[in-house]
Symmetry: C2
Subunit: 321 residues, 2 copies
């Protein structure tokens, strides 16, 4: 694990932006008068669901894989992921022409595994818990010499994720509040670093499902609390923080709020009906926090990162089977 006294900087994020620019999309920032009327704020949605591989994870993975030396890259890369980071590493490895090993939990959503396969990575399935994933990945790294591209506990990954905030701020202009979901904390580590540097007066708020609230508990107690038995539809947010991402959150983030499962589903549906974007449950969590009154958007210019759109449309959570 990374130490908790090393922080990424704006310069790291700007270097990442230049490194990954040819390989990621500058995603649109969408607004909706209807959502503004409903919330009383002016909301700017950074549509990373339209990013390469359908999620912001392409940014961090590209930055990390493209930062490897040629000698390191020649032995390939490995990671574990519930889906989007696996696709992102596969995508980045394909760009670089190297092998990607992706460890995925049994029962992972079908479209996520299919996308990893389509991108040419080698998938290894394991039991659906953090320990099994890490052990299987460690075995592959030991056997092949592949470079581990951790989904969030990696400074290059955090810096890559932060590039989404640079674009959001450029396109939306000054913001009073910026929100992201929190899973392992890689995205908010990067985004909050960019926000602190570019918009010193803005509030930075993370949002989590109540059923996977390790970041909220850790933020409240000041100690890294374990994630036990996460229980949420937001499958991208079931990972727990690392010491390094928790340190970034403590330094840069003003609040961490939690939301109900019902609000997540309601937010997904509202974003579809107004913005015409389909996002995965994890991506709907910040807007769910506004819907549920956990964050007050009234009178504020609010930037929200819509993190991803990899969902099985055949199984939308608001449709009863």
């Amino acid at each position: 694990m990374l130490p908790d006294n090393v922080f990424i900087t704006l310069a790291d994020i700007e270097a990442a932006r230049d490194r990954i620019a040819p390989f990621v999309r500058r995603t649109p920032v969408l607004t909706s008068d209807l959502l503004d009327e409903a919330t009383g704020g002016r909301l700017f949605f950074k549509c990373e669901n339209l990013q390469q591989i359908g999620a912001f994870k392409a940014r961090g993975a590209c930055n990390a894989v493209l930062s490897l030396t040629d000698a390191e890259a020649a032995r390939g890369v490995a990671t574990h992921s519930s889906g989007n980071h696996g696709s992102a590493v596969a995508y980045a490895a394909r760009l670089r022409g190297i092998v990607a090993h992706v460890v995925m939990p049994d029962g992972v959503a079908r479209p996520k595994a299919a996308q990893v396969e389509r991108l040419g990575a080698r998938i290894t399935y394991c039991a659906p818990n953090q320990a099994a994933r890490e052990a299987e990945t460690a075995r592959i790294v030991a056997e092949t010499g592949a470079a581990l591209i951790h989904p969030f506990d990696n400074l290059q990954v955090m810096a890559g994720q932060g590039t989404a905030a640079l674009e959001l701020i450029e396109d939306a202009g000054p913001l009073d509040l910026v929100m992201t979901p929190i899973g392992g904390g890689g995205l908010i580590s990067g985004v909050s670093t960019a926000v602190r540097a570019k918009l010193p007066a803005a509030r930075m708020v993370g949002a989590e499902p109540a059923g996977a609230d390790d970041a909220a508990r850790s933020f409240a107690s000041g100690r890294l609390e374990p994630m036990d038995h996460p229980n949420t539809i937001a499958d991208g947010l079931r990972a727990g923080l690392s010491p390094a991402t928790f340190a970034h959150i403590r330094r840069n983030v003003d609040d961490v709020v939690t939301v109900s499962e019902a609000a997540i589903v309601e937010a997904m549906r509202a974003l579809w009906e107004t913005l015409k974007v389909v996002v995965e449950p994890s991506a709907a969590v910040p807007y769910a926090a506004i819907l549920e009154g956990k964050v007050d958007a009234r009178g504020k210019r609010v930037g929200v990162v819509l993190t991803g759109g990899n969902i099985d449309l055949d199984r939308l959570p608001w449709i009863r089977p």
Copy 2:
């Protein structure tokens, strides 16, 4: 009906662009390496599914409604529409603070009617055929003095739709081929005028469902053929051409191709899985033509207008009930 010897010009489209700029989105142009590999071309998708009201129709309606004099506007506007144009007129009328009357066919998709209502328009339902729609709209115009904003047989509407092509060409750069679907022909009238002026060497191709192929038959025969009993999932393409839109097609369009219903559904699904955009069946028709081999994209830079995304996600056509 408009005469068939009056044509819109690039200047009309540029004036429309300036008039509507504050009120419509500059939608993103997305590309996908996977789709390029599948088709052998370089495809640029203009995402009008992310436009205000979820369809390019916002462009034409805004241009027409904002072009009215204050005296004309004061009596309101009226139109008939299977959905998207109705929302677009409601949206434009709300911007201008005037009443919109929208005539919709019985059985119209629920989300389309709901959106028109949410935008504050007055809906009148009628029998689901062109004659009933036109008669009901004429009655409202006679009673209220509202200005008729025809969905396609209106030069300001055509010019507004053409603004999508100006943006597509600016963002994608030179194109060898540009494609749109054809319903009543308003979109292709505007887009083809812009393409002829900006990209004189490019091919301009329209695509239709085989079950609503009046434009293809008219293009082949050189006479305006009637649309009888359209039978297609692409509910936005069931209208027939007008003399004016047919004249624009004859002047500006190189070919009109038709596609099967199965290809439309396959194209919708492929666009979702690769671009992460959900489009309505009508919008998938040009890509369906490439999938089905009706248009050869190999080695070409191809611009495709994805016309709209107003679909009921609870009833996706690739899911058996």
